[in-house]
């Protein structure tokens, strides 16, 4: 394993200072992505800065009912937090659908936002990958691309965004607090991850900054939520296709609706057109199927992943059906 310098930061200012002038400097929180990729020689930090001593481990309810989550809150603690279970069930379900108990105990909210793709060509330093090495090409386009994206890809990159948590954040709506040398700024989670386009190595909006908090939008109430994740094995596996659904019903008519997808796109994918179509419709299978077809209308399969389109369609229909059911059960 490649050597690196190490610093332990006791304040956000100190952490930023340790990173200054070190373009390959890496913050470590849980380390589950970073150390995995350092071992594979995919990430090559000259310095690793341990941020675990920073005071970013609280979950706080703000006066306007938003939940401000410190970037170092672990995935486990967030998934089981009473306010998350009560008000943001989709977030809890999505987190618990990801990784293993051990990894969730280590992984943090900030780290989850920063996790890297599982594309095997990205993870192999001998393969061509525009994300890892800009301009080197993309072996996935002509290689084994069963796991790759059918939405949001480009002729440079079709790597899937791996996060379940971020799919839930896309549905709920959240603001990321980014602290840099010149102070703190806020970025909408929907704008944080970038599409690959011609620059797949530029994955997010983070500059010379540290994610310090994620603030969830006020909860939708009443609400039914469901996260459906389809994968090669029933647990501890990344999604082939996942769908998160949040619905509120008035009688049987759909009011609020959110429909993000995971496992099929190059970033956490919100289906705005399908959501608009659902508004005011009766919550039945016909409407859910129509929404699913619209959500996937632009899906572009590669040689080996056309199966993801009907798979995602089923995930959407099931997630919407389960969300509607959860709403009705909650209502009675």
């Amino acid at each position: 394993m490649r050597p690196f310098a190490f610093a332990r930061a006791d304040s956000v200012e100190r952490a930023l200072e340790c990173r200054r002038g070190e373009p390959t400097g890496a913050f470590v929180a849980g380390g589950t992505t970073l150390l995995d990729l350092v071992k594979l020689d995919v990430m090559r930090p000259a310095r690793v800065i341990d941020i675990n001593a920073l005071p970013l481990k609280d979950v706080e309810r703000l006066h306007d009912d938003r939940l401000r989550i410190g970037a170092l809150v672990t995935n486990t603690d967030l998934a089981y937090h009473p306010d998350v279970l009560a008000d943001h069930p989709l977030l809890s379900q999505a987190i618990l659908a990801g990784a293993s108990s051990q990894v969730r105990n280590m992984a943090t909210v900030g780290g989850n936002l920063m996790q890297r793709t599982r594309c095997p060509y990205f993870r192999d330093p001998t393969a061509a990958c525009n994300k890892r090495e800009p301009g080197s090409g993309c072996d996935a386009l002509t290689g084994v691309n069963r796991m790759h994206a059918v939405l949001g890809g480009s002729d440079r990159c079709v790597a899937v965004h791996p996060s379940d948590m971020c799919v839930a954040l896309a549905a709920i709506g959240a603001t990321l607090s980014l602290q840099g040398p010149n102070g703190e700024r806020e970025v909408d989670v929907a704008d944080f991850h970038r599409l690959p386009g011609a620059t797949p190595h530029l994955e997010h909006e983070l500059g010379d900054e540290l994610i310090v908090a994620v603030t969830l939008a006020p909860p939708l109430k009443p609400l039914g939520a469901a996260y459906v994740k389809l994968r090669d094995r029933a647990s501890y596996e990344f999604a082939l296709a996942s769908a998160g659904a949040m619905l509120s019903l008035d009688e049987d008519l759909i009011g609020e609706q959110r429909l993000p997808l995971g496992g099929v796109a190059t970033k956490p994918w919100r289906c705005h057109a399908a959501e608009a179509l659902l508004a005011g419709k009766r919550a039945d299978t016909a409407a859910f199927e129509e929404a699913a077809d619209l959500a996937l209308a632009d899906a572009a399969p590669l040689a080996h992943n056309a199966f993801k389109i009907p798979l995602a369609r089923q995930a959407i229909v099931r997630a919407l059906r389960d969300a509607a059911r959860a709403h009705r059960e909650d209502d009675t």
């Binding site: 394993m1 050597p3 690196f4 930061a9 380390g31 341990d50 990894v103 105990n105 647990s235």
Partner: protein, 173 residues
């Protein structure tokens, strides 16, 4: 220029741990992985190296009471933390109830994954947020692979250990 708590790649960093209940200080390189330090520096070879990438769970230890993959953690990140390994579960010659249950239920073949399985099982049985039904236990244990396929007996051992520890039966789900 290096400042306090700032270490070059060649430097060694002192790390103070509470290891299986006893205070230990070990000097490690910044890139030393907890798993390797436990096995090669501290002589605790019960924790196993399987995939070395967080995918198999053979290296599971408790860090401040939480099950974690020792292969994905820098030793320097553990400053001040309490680490429990498989060697720290028994009390003298008396096995931990989960260890005893693994023996009683023949919950292994080759045994290579057993330390990790047992550490995960102990953690989940101590975590009141993890429900006791079989489906939940399977899910909570999914970070530990057993290539021999002793899963049925592992599950039986865990549910039996639950009875021994808490006196409550897991639901048959």
């Amino acid at each position: 220029m290096l400042e306090t708590h700032d270490h070059s790649p060649e430097a060694t960093v002192p790390v103070r741990l509470t290891l299986n209940g006893a205070p230990v200080t070990v000097e490690v390189a910044p890139n030393a992985i907890l798993l390797d330090v436990l096995r090669e520096r501290l002589g605790l070879t019960g924790t196993k190296k399987g995939c070395d990438h967080g995918q198999c769970g053979a290296c599971t230890v408790h860090v401040d009471g939480r099950a974690m993959n020792a292969c994905l953690r820098l030793a320097v990140m553990c400053e001040g933390q309490a680490i429990t390994t498989i060697e720290g579960l028994a009390e003298g010659d008396r096995l931990h109830p989960v260890q005893q249950a693994f023996l009683d239920h023949d919950a292994f073949q080759c045994g290579y994954c057993s330390p990790g399985q047992i550490m995960s099982a102990v953690a989940l049985l101590e975590d009141p947020r993890v429900a006791g039904d079989v489906c939940t236990v399977r899910e909570a244990m999914s970070g530990n692979l057993c290539r021999c396929g002793a899963y049925q007996n592992i599950l039986a051992a865990i549910q039996d250990a639950r009875l021994r520890l808490h006196g409550q039966e897991g639901d048959e789900a």
